[in-house]
């Protein structure tokens, strides 16, 4: 793929990121309420507030704060959490793996399962399996995440007892090595499913429609005229381009997933960024919220970039635009 194309897309990152930074910062600092109270908690006394205020440089005018902030961010310093009194980057770093694991799994799963389902129903177009699947996915697509999560807990965890209901590891066993991995995996299943559900639906619907469109194209007729086995026609010739719409939304979907993770992590007590965000917001721990905001936004931007590159790889014509 042409270097020019990659470079151009890379250059577009800068402004976007900057804008995001600004939006987030203003959003949070112009909001009512005083972060200092997050530190003092109840019943702090006046001079103690002053002490904190000065300690966290909250007296500085906003522009100055933004400038310092931007500078720090570029140096990878996201500031210090009011509440935890520790570097935001550390706090986030601690929570990141859990969320990455959760959203990553959900992303991969939803893509694979979604496409599989899409192919399944597209190749049975308008016969009962297709109809059922289409309706089911549409329902899944329409159901709020928290509902799915709670249902999963009630039915699969409590009733059936197949899965743990809370957290990322079993409280009593401080297992290590393989058993630890298995333990985490076991805990991962339900949250990942709940989070993936909507995306599975979206992807399957998208790939179904894409495949149906693709199967109508002339070059598919050519392939069949060559005598290419139907299997290959569908899975190689048709699917390759049918996936383009799926690919184009990958980036957007990561955004959706991260957002969905907030709810899912709360429902399943998953110790990730989402819950960090919720608690931080309640404590008005601005640096943390802003840090998470940046992280998420940048992730999505990068995801979109990768998406486009992947797209260009799948559709050679793009590179020459």
């Amino acid at each position: 793929m042409t270097r020019r194309y990659v470079v151009r897309r890379l250059l577009q990152l800068g402004p976007t990121a900057a804008a995001i930074l600004l939006v987030g910062f203003l959003l949070i600092h112009l909001a009512p309420g005083d972060p200092v109270l997050a530190l003092a908690g109840e019943n702090g006394d006046a001079e103690y507030y002053a002490f904190v205020r000065e300690k966290f440089g909250l007296d500085e005018p906003l522009p100055t704060q933004l400038a310092t902030y931007a500078g720090n961010v570029l140096r990878g310093d996201l500031g210090t959490s009011y509440v935890l009194g520790r570097p935001v980057s550390d706090v986030i770093a601690e929570r990141l793996p859990a969320t990455l694991l959760l959203t990553g799994t959900a992303l991969v799963f939803s893509t694979v399962a979604g496409v599989a389902i899409g192919v399944f129903s597209a190749t049975r177009r308008r016969r009962w399996p297709d109809v059922t699947v289409t309706l089911a996915t549409l329902a899944m697509y329409s159901a709020p995440v928290f509902l799915l999560g709670q249902l999963a807990i009630l039915l699969l965890a409590l009733r059936a007892g197949w899965f743990p209901v809370q957290g990322m590891t079993d409280a009593r066993s401080s297992a290590t090595g393989l058993s630890h991995v298995l333990d985490v995996g076991h805990h991962l299943v339900l949250p990942a499913l709940a989070l993936a559900a909507q995306e599975v639906a979206a992807v399957s619907r998208l790939s179904r429609v894409g495949l149906l469109d693709e199967l109508r194209r002339d070059h598919i007729r050519t392939a069949r005229a060559k005598g290419v086995p139907e299997r290959t026609v569908v899975l190689s010739h048709a699917l390759r381009r049918a996936l383009l719409p799926v690919v184009t939304v990958l980036g957007g979907r990561t955004g959706q997933l991260v957002a969905g993770a907030v709810v899912v992590e709360v429902v399943f007590g998953w110790p990730g960024i989402g819950r960090l965000l919720v608690t931080a917001m309640q404590a008005r721990d601005a640096p943390v919220v802003l840090g998470v905001f940046l992280l998420v936004a940048v992730t999505v931007v990068v995801a979109n970039l990768l998406t486009d590159l992947l797209y260009a790889w799948l559709d050679p014509r793009v590179r020459y635009r």
Partner: protein
């Protein structure tokens, strides 16, 4: 171009060649479209007529607490003894308000941006698309979360935020359509006869570019309703209006003891969103001649 319509598909739908008239009628003829329209209509009706339909004020505590669905209380009552049926009906009203006002904003912003970017192209297009991308990159739900958490709950700001962040999809789709239409011969014909830019945009291009956008709108609005619900679930709903999400979130504490509290609001959300999705799909299908 990067992420395009989540469900509208990537390629332009506007191939108005030989399209038969009365698009809506045709989309409604399909079972999906019919059901979708039915549900959406139900939502609108419930929303508009809430005061007439609801047995009581949704906030009034005038029943026994936690009574299961019965003749007197078809959807049961909550812990405080409030009638859930009334709650769900008034919830529809809230969802409707949010959906409608966001839709309005989305149409205005999305169409304008899409038209301009698509028609004028060049740096206008680039600039607008950068902005669009930016807005598209900001995860809406996440933004809503932060805004509400910081500025306090309230439909006004929620609508404002969702309106301001939900238009990119529409803008992109419209833009793609316009790009496809801009050099259509019927547009050039108009130019040959000296039609003004405004006439070309509004009379020749817009009518052809809009339908796919509208179809998409159904899906966008559906998402908006989901977001509103999820915010309510996280306890960020406006306590002075009844919202399905808020009902659902209050219900969580009673999941084990009062299933109906979670079931009916959840069902309401699901059906409303389902309806809008079905409708949107039906229209899209009718447009692209799918099925």
């Amino acid at each position: 171009m990067s992420a395009t319509a989540e469900l509208a598909g990537a390629q332009p739908a506007a191939t108005p060649v030989g399209r038969r008239p009365r698009l809506l009628v045709r989309s409604l003829r399909t079972p999906g479209g019919a059901v979708g329209a039915g549900l959406s209509l139900l939502l609108v009706a419930a929303g508009l007529l809430a005061p007439l339909l609801a047995p009581t004020d949704p906030f009034a505590v005038d029943g026994p607490p936690l009574t299961a669905p019965s003749g007197a209380y078809p959807f049961g009552t909550d812990a405080l003894g409030r009638d859930l049926l009334s709650g769900v009906i008034y919830g529809a009203r809230t969802s409707l308000i949010v959906a409608a006002s966001v839709a309005a904003m989305v149409i205005v912003i999305g169409t304008t941006v899409g038209l301009w970017a698509g028609y004028f192209g060049g740096w206008v297009d680039d600039a607008l698309m950068r902005i669009t991308e930016l807005f598209q990159v900001l995860p809406r739900f996440f933004m809503a979360l932060v805004v509400i958490a910081f500025f306090g709950p309230g439909l006004d700001r929620l609508v404002l935020l969702l309106g301001v962040t939900s238009w990119p999809l529409l803008a992109r789709v419209i833009r793609v359509e316009v790009l496809a239409l801009r050099h259509r011969e019927f547009v050039e014909a108009a130019r040959v006869h000296g039609a003004s830019r405004t006439r070309i945009l509004l009379r020749e291009i817009l009518p052809n570019a809009l339908p796919p956008g509208i179809a998409l709108l159904g899906l966008v609005v559906a998402q908006v309703i989901l977001i509103e619900a999820s915010l309510g679930f996280l306890g960020l709903g406006d306590p002075n209006v009844t919202s399905w999400g808020t009902l659902a979130s209050e219900a969580q504490r009673f999941l084990r003891v009062a299933w109906w509290l979670s079931l009916f609001p959840g069902l309401a959300i699901l059906l409303a969103v389902l309806g809008l999705n079905l409708l949107g799909d039906a229209v899209t299908d009718a447009l692209t001649g799918r099925r």
